[in-house]
């Protein structure tokens, strides 16, 4: 494998990115000093922390984040009540000029948020005039409480269309619309963004949630001077939600726009999953908050080696490759049935399989208490595979398809003797 070079570059809205890995608009992209470090580490571009027009003074609540831990596992999720950039527009634009001058091949996506048509246009133009390669319209910040801003826009389709249209008229650079996941169907607002002229869709922003309640003060975290709030959840915990929305957008033929995926990406595998579901670029914040900018080294190397191993030359050849087999559940072939299969030579005898099969599945395991080994009664196995999820030995339990004439045993009925007491008429 050594020596073989892979090209990780992607074309996104006719702009070339050296790899698909970008910083998302957040604390990790707050200043040129920070972004320069990220570029040095290998990130190909940045969605810069959302600009404002200095009309309202931005103050971040204190404290503004809270971790969601799982046992001793840190930061499986992150809660935040962070606002858009609290720096002046001038300072941020000077930082754009600095970054473009020093890193001409890196891509600056200016994230903006306005409260009126004029303000959207003003911020868009100021960004373009000072070196921004693209715009990202923040229709999705979950902490804005004023109607007509942040995710409130993302939930009001006519405003999405109107503001996008305004921006498109003001500038000639490509425009991404960044969407909120706090709705049931994202394709609908995305289509309004397209109607307004958006060139691409970015998703997802944070998911409104609550990560923790203090048990002493009965207050949600982060607690800001005695008050908690429902606010944005991010990190690995929300990845399934992010992948789902990206897949929805990618499968929407009417939309047909390139996508910038985000939500819970920490590793090349997370990033690749987003690519396979149709993202062209991916954006990261919580992974950086957890581990720092250096994680991009692992993303670049991991994705490169994966592509070399599979003889895939361009990232473009991966984009959307998981979409054809992604269907509604009614497309499943229910004739195809299987069972769990146990490689007991590697079993360590913990018996967690037995517990979960008894308490959450088909009661399909017997237990040899002397040998401390399970024995599968195949025709009782539901093939739910939960045993394999708790088994501490990876790959010990695998799925085995059964022949088409194979029959699963019916679930035991405990009340057969009580038929006389049954009160039931056939449904007509």
């Amino acid at each position: 494998m050594a020596g073989k070079k892979v090209d990780l570059s992607v074309d996104f809205c006719v702009i070339k990115f050296e790899n698909p890995f970008l910083l998302s608009s957040s604390p990790v992209s707050n200043s040129a000093e920070m972004v320069a470090k990220a570029f040095e580490a290998g990130w190909s571009g940045v969605a810069y922390k959302t600009l404002n027009s200095d009309r309202v003074r931005i103050v971040h609540p204190s404290p503004r984040m809270n971790p969601y831990h799982y046992g001793s596992k840190r930061l499986v999720g992150l809660q935040n009540v962070e606002q858009i950039s609290d720096r002046s527009l001038k300072d941020n634009l000077l930082d754009f000029l600095y970054l473009k001058k020093n890193y001409p091949d890196k891509i600056i996506i200016s994230s903006i948020m306005g409260f009126s048509n004029e303000e959207w246009a003003y911020l868009a133009k100021a960004s373009e005039d000072n070196g921004a390669d693209m715009l990202e319209l923040n229709f999705s910040c979950p902490h804005m409480t004023i109607e007509g801003s942040g995710h409130k826009v993302g939930q009001a389709n006519h405003l999405i269309e109107k503001f996008t249209e305004t921006v498109k008229k003001a500038v000639s650079i490509p425009v991404l619309a960044k969407m909120t996941p706090n709705i049931t169907d994202m394709t609908e607002p995305a289509l309004f963004a397209k109607q307004g002229g958006a060139d691409a869709i970015a998703a997802i922003n944070t998911v409104r949630g609550i990560s923790q309640i203090g048990l002493d003060d009965w207050t949600a975290r982060p607690k800001v001077a005695g008050i908690g709030a429902i606010s944005g959840t991010s990190g690995p915990a929300v990845k399934p939600i992010g992948l789902r929305f990206i897949a929805d957008l990618a499968k929407c033929e009417q939309l047909g726009l390139p996508l910038s995926g985000q939500g819970g990406i920490e590793t090349w595998i997370d990033a690749l999953e987003y690519l396979l579901l149709g993202s062209t670029t991916v954006q990261v914040t919580t992974g950086i908050i957890h581990y720092g900018y250096r994680i991009v080294e692992e993303m670049i190397e991991g994705l490169s080696d994966y592509m070399v191993e599979r003889d895939i030359e361009r990232v473009a050849d991966l984009i959307g490759k998981a979409l054809p087999t992604l269907q509604d559940t009614d497309k499943f072939d229910l004739e195809s049935q299987g069972v769990a299969s146990y490689d007991l030579d590697r079993c360590v005898g913990c018996g967690q399989c037995l517990i979960v099969c008894n308490d959450s599945a088909g009661q399909a395991l017997e237990w040899d208490s002397q040998l401390r080994r399970p024995r599968l009664i195949e025709d009782k196995c539901l093939s739910c595979m939960v045993c394999s999820f708790v088994c501490p030995v990876s790959g010990l339990i695998s799925y085995k398809p059964q022949p088409s004439d194979w029959q699963r045993r019916e679930t035991a009925v405990m009340g057969e003797q009580l038929e006389a007491e049954l009160k039931l008429a056939a449904f007509k």
């Binding site: 913990c350 018996g351 517990i355 237990w367 501490p392």
Partner: protein
């Protein structure tokens, strides 16, 4: 936390904190029919308390330990867990066993830190029980009885309670601060501990039954040291492990420390007690400490981890050497040990390989201090304290395996005075078993 770290010698090594304990508990496979729980002689039930910790039921985890083992802290610190609960750990199959003993110690220390009390004093049941000896067996039995409402009085001959876990182990292994926390919890159950109260008169232990105690539990332990040559006495610098270890805990400590500083010490023996003597002497500043043992490293009865710790502490292991005599000068001061080299015979059956002296290989190891640590035995004359109780030829009390009942009705016995040298956790179990039998007997008497 609850360890005295002010001085290298007295301080126990720091135990787990909450983060470490939780992370370690996450390695647990939460086994069905947990093998670790079946491997604890005192049924402390690690499978359950680790699951409780894992599911954030920290108070429940503490409750599980303390309800099953009132000396859960001592066992967490002193148990050779590697050959008990941890030996059965299924996580070994994917790496290494969960450090159960350290989790247990953490939970006990944590209960003190957050002042979480498991027990409420029980309603009195009107029964009084006497316990002779405040070592692990006596404490365990007393606690179990008190939990059921018995008025328990422990008679302890020494100035302070704890028996072997106070006077028989160095403080870096098990700290008195730690012990005092455990003792306080036992006293809070209503147990009365009378120190400086020996029951050593003729028939005195049996007479307790006539003094209003409904039952007596004898757990006096083994406090006579076996001797290489019992004829030799009053020699300056020659002491037994019992004398030496007790001095580490009493007013003799500073005198002993001064004596050890810069000296050459020879410890005879290969068990855990010998290791404790040798390692502590090294830690107290002896220039050279020789552990003299007639077999080889792997035959030593001491736990492997203890042997390795002693090596790391600088103890010289003088293996395959049989002490044959002391070298004593005309001032009756010890000068050294006369040794003869040995080789190991082939093992017979499943037995240990026996050492065979090599003729003509005799030599003298010079030493300023010689500590004999070749085993503890029942005190001579101890059978007179309970003349009607059947004992064997080693003066060990014969007690029923199921009930710890002796040959005298109402008198029960447990711990080392029944088993010979054994583990703290075995003694704890004896106390539990005897308490259960005593309670059954008391309730039958009532019926």
């Amino acid at each position: 936390m609850f360890v005295n770290t002010s001085e290298n010698f007295t301080g126990m090594t720091q135990g787990f904190g909450l983060d470490q304990a939780v992370a370690e508990a996450e390695r647990c496979l939460l086994c069905h029919d947990a093998p670790c729980s079946k491997a604890c002689p005192a049924d402390t039930d690690p499978g359950t308390f680790i699951r409780k910790l894992r599911l954030k039921n920290v108070t429940g985890a503490i409750r599980t330990i303390k309800e099953n083992n009132i000396l859960g802290g001592a066992c967490g610190v002193l148990c050779p867990a590697a050959r008990l609960c941890e030996k059965e750990c299924c996580a070994t199959g994917i790496g290494r066993p969960v450090e159960i003993a350290k989790i247990q110690r953490f939970l006990v220390e944590h209960s003190w830190e957050r002042n979480f009390k498991v027990f409420e004093p029980a309603a009195p049941n009107g029964k009084s029980v006497a316990v002779v000896g405040s070592g692990p067996a006596g404490l365990s039995c007393a606690a179990e009885l008190a939990k059921q409402g018995c008025q328990v009085t422990i008679f302890e001959a020494r100035p302070e309670a704890g028996g072997v876990i106070r006077y028989g182990v160095p403080s870096y292994r098990y700290d008195v601060n730690f012990l005092d926390h455990e003792l306080r919890e036992i006293k809070e159950l209503g147990v009365e501990i009378r120190c400086n109260a020996p029951i050593r008169g003729a028939g005195e232990a049996e007479n307790l039954l006539q003094k209003g105690y409904a039952a007596v539990f004898v757990a006096t332990g083994l406090w006579d040291a076996a001797r290489l040559n019992p004829e030799v006495s009053n020699v300056d610098g020659l002491m037994t492990s019992v004398e030496y270890l007790a001095s580490l805990r009493d007013e003799q400590f500073e005198i002993l420390r001064n004596k050890l500083k810069g000296s050459t010490v020879a410890v005879i023996g290969g068990g855990s007690v010998a290791i404790d003597c040798a390692e502590s002497a090294a830690k107290l500043g002896a220039e050279d400490v020789y552990l003299v043992y007639r077999r080889s490293f792997v035959q030593m009865p001491a736990e492997e981890v203890e042997r390795i710790e002693a090596l790391a502490a600088g103890v010289h292991f003088l293996l395959l050497n049989q002490p044959v005599d002391f070298v004593i000068n005309h001032h009756r001061k010890i000068m050294g040990l006369r040794l003869v080299r040995t080789r190991l015979d082939a093992a017979v059956g499943s037995g240990r390989r026996m050492p065979k002296e090599i003729p003509g290989s005799e030599w003298v190891l010079n030493a300023d201090i010689v500590i004999e640590a070749i085993g503890n035995q029942a005190e001579s004359g101890s059978q007179n304290w309970y003349p009607n109780v059947a004992v064997d030829r080693n003066r060990l009390i014969q007690a029923d395996a199921e009930t710890r009942q002796t040959s005298v009705a109402g008198i029960f016995a447990g711990g080392d005075i029944v088993r010979g040298p054994a583990l703290v956790v075995d003694a704890v179990n004896d106390g539990k078993v005897a308490a259960k039998a005593i309670l059954e007997q008391l309730s039958q008497q009532e019926a």
